[in-house]
């Protein structure tokens, strides 16, 4: 049986909750959130550390507290949601097929869909580490779930590969629970995590962070007994003779996050090879009409506050789309160049006059640069940065005048320029 819904939101984590709230506040009442876990809140439920919400709520919350704020907003509005419900497929016509234990198979036809499915961790298989298949190898997020949700300790002597935020947070978390974290090993010459996390999760507990190193072999029978690490050259290839063996029973992998776009592909949503998420316009609409994307399924964020902000905007614009008020116009493409790896959104509608927010990541660590938006050869916007790193997303907030200027250009690029001395 097919039911009709104005707006279906796939995912009840921070992105989905914020999108639902703002779509409701924009006047939309026929909303359904589909969540595959048994609780709303998504990954925040296992992120028990503090540091969330400084932008959104002007106070420092833990992950579960931040999630609860948005869950309360959704409950207060009586927005419909289904838990334990896995979406099996979506298509171009915005038909959503999902299943759960109570209802069995459900098919909906939606006027608009918001993809808010988040991201997943890169697994061991994606990084080709040689060695055994012993127990004791976990993604950092899995270890986080085991400790914080299920109450199990996955190991005692730990090496962590990758210095992304989850890896850093887990170094501290494992230490708190009595484990010995012997090293955090990072392939790149810099961390992709936040500086504050290096300070409060590693330095506070004298956990060594080894840049330009990687794990080349995992040893052990039944259970991990040691890992072999080695230094890497500029091309990231291990250097012979630099190997050292570290005894441990656990290896955590924090080697990157990938937007989860299996459903998007079914609906022919065009994806960016750089972000791994959809290509969107400034309304966060993908190139498949009526399908929107926000949060980590669109591009991986460092801060949940920015996920909420982006998703509230997507929710508002999806509500406008359902009402038939989304402008369909010619678009200007926004390219990333000269040190900037990507910009979201990739396209900007020429119509509409809301001030634009451009989000981007750089491809390397750069010091003393200007972050510039160039339209048809003219500088529309520029900001000096003491340092930009791939680990920290940069945002450009254009004012109304700069937004208008950008919308009138044939060609727009965002790039880094050296600061003239």
């Amino acid at each position: 049986m097919m039911s009709v819904k104005n707006l279906i939101i796939i995912g009840g984590g921070p992105a989905g909750l914020a999108a639902a709230k703002s779509a409701y506040d924009a006047g939309e009442r026929d909303i359904l959130i589909l969540e595959r876990e048994d609780k709303l809140g998504g990954i925040l439920n296992q992120c028990i550390h503090n540091g969330f919400g400084l932008h959104t709520f002007k106070e420092e919350l833990t992950g579960p507290e931040y999630a609860a704020r948005y869950v309360d907003e959704v409950l207060a509005r009586n927005i419909e949601y289904k838990l334990g419900t896995t979406v099996l497929s979506i298509d171009r016509k915005k038909r959503v097929t999902c299943a759960n234990e109570t209802d069995g198979l459900l098919v909906y036809e939606a006027k608009a869909i918001i993809l808010a499915c988040g991201c997943r961790e890169r697994p061991r298989g994606a990084i080709n580490i040689a060695g055994c298949r012993a127990a004791g190898i976990f993604s950092a997020g899995t270890a986080q779930k085991l400790i914080n949700i299920d109450g199990f300790m996955p190991g005692k002597e730990v090496v962590i590969l990758g210095s992304g935020d989850i890896g850093l947070i887990m170094a501290r978390r494992m230490t708190f629970q009595g484990a010995k974290v012997k090293a955090v090993v990072e392939l790149m010459p810099y961390s992709s995590g936040l500086n504050r996390n290096i300070v409060q999760c590693l330095n506070d507990f004298d956990i060594p962070l080894m840049f330009s190193h990687t794990v080349v072999e995992i040893k052990g029978k039944g259970r991990v007994s040691s890992v072999v690490i080695a230094q890497v050259d500029e091309k990231l290839n291990p250097i012979k003779g630099t190997e050292q063996e570290i005894a441990c029973d656990t290896l955590l992998l924090s080697v990157g996050l990938l937007p989860e776009n299996e459903l998007s592909k079914m609906a022919d949503v065009r994806l960016s090879p750089v972000t791994g998420g959809a290509v969107v316009d400034d309304d966060m609409m993908t190139e498949t009409d009526g399908i929107f994307a926000c949060g980590n399924v669109l591009h991986v964020h460092d801060l949940v506050d920015f996920v909420s902000e982006e998703s509230e905007w997507a929710g508002k614009r999806a509500a406008a789309y359902v009402r038939g008020e989304k402008t369909v116009s010619d678009k200007v493409q926004v390219d990333a160049k000269d040190g900037v790896r990507y910009v979201v959104p990739q396209y900007v509608n020429r119509t509409g006059d809301e001030p634009l927010k451009l989000k981007m990541r750089v491809g390397n660590v750069f010091k003393d640069v200007r972050l510039c938006v160039i339209g048809d050869g003219e500088e529309i916007y520029s900001r000096k940065c003491r340092v930009v790193t791939p680990g920290e997303m940069e945002t450009v907030n254009l004012n109304e005048k700069q937004t208008r200027a950008l919308k009138n250009c044939r060609q727009v690029t965002v790039c880094l320029k050296a600061v003239e001395r």
Partner: protein, 119 residues
């Protein structure tokens, strides 16, 4: 003089702290008042928030997350964590409920950070 990274928020401002006179510590490089406070505290008496989990009885989840209501002295972190050992709370639990009072003599309580329903 000490160079440090402020941990108050994800901005991670690079601070320069003049600690030649501990009664008159000077902080520069901060972009907000929290950074100044952090820089001063870090050279006088560094403090940290502590977060962990404790077991729940009859709850709709196995564990409830907790935090120190305020930052406590860094040197007391592991004493605070010891105070959580063996603690079991009964569902239902609401955000803000006290889980352990006056942790390790700091005068600060551990409070719940998750709502847990009863089964």
């Amino acid at each position: 003089m000490k160079e440090m990274i402020c941990i108050c928020c994800p901005m991670g401002c690079r601070l320069t702290v003049d600690d030649s006179d501990l009664n008159n510590v000077k902080v520069s490089g901060n972009t907000c008042p929290r950074g100044e406070k952090y820089g001063k505290e870090e050279v006088v008496c560094p403090k940290r928030m502590v977060t962990s989990v404790v077991r729940v009885k009859d709850g709709d989840v196995a564990m409830v997350s907790v935090k120190t209501k305020e930052a406590i002295e860094k040197s007391k972190i592991f004493d605070a964590l010891d105070a959580l050992k063996g603690v079991v709370v009964k569902a239902p639990v609401s955000i803000g409920d006290t889980v352990v009072e006056n942790v390790a003599g700091t005068g600060v309580d551990f409070i719940a950070t998750k709502n847990v329903g009863r089964i």
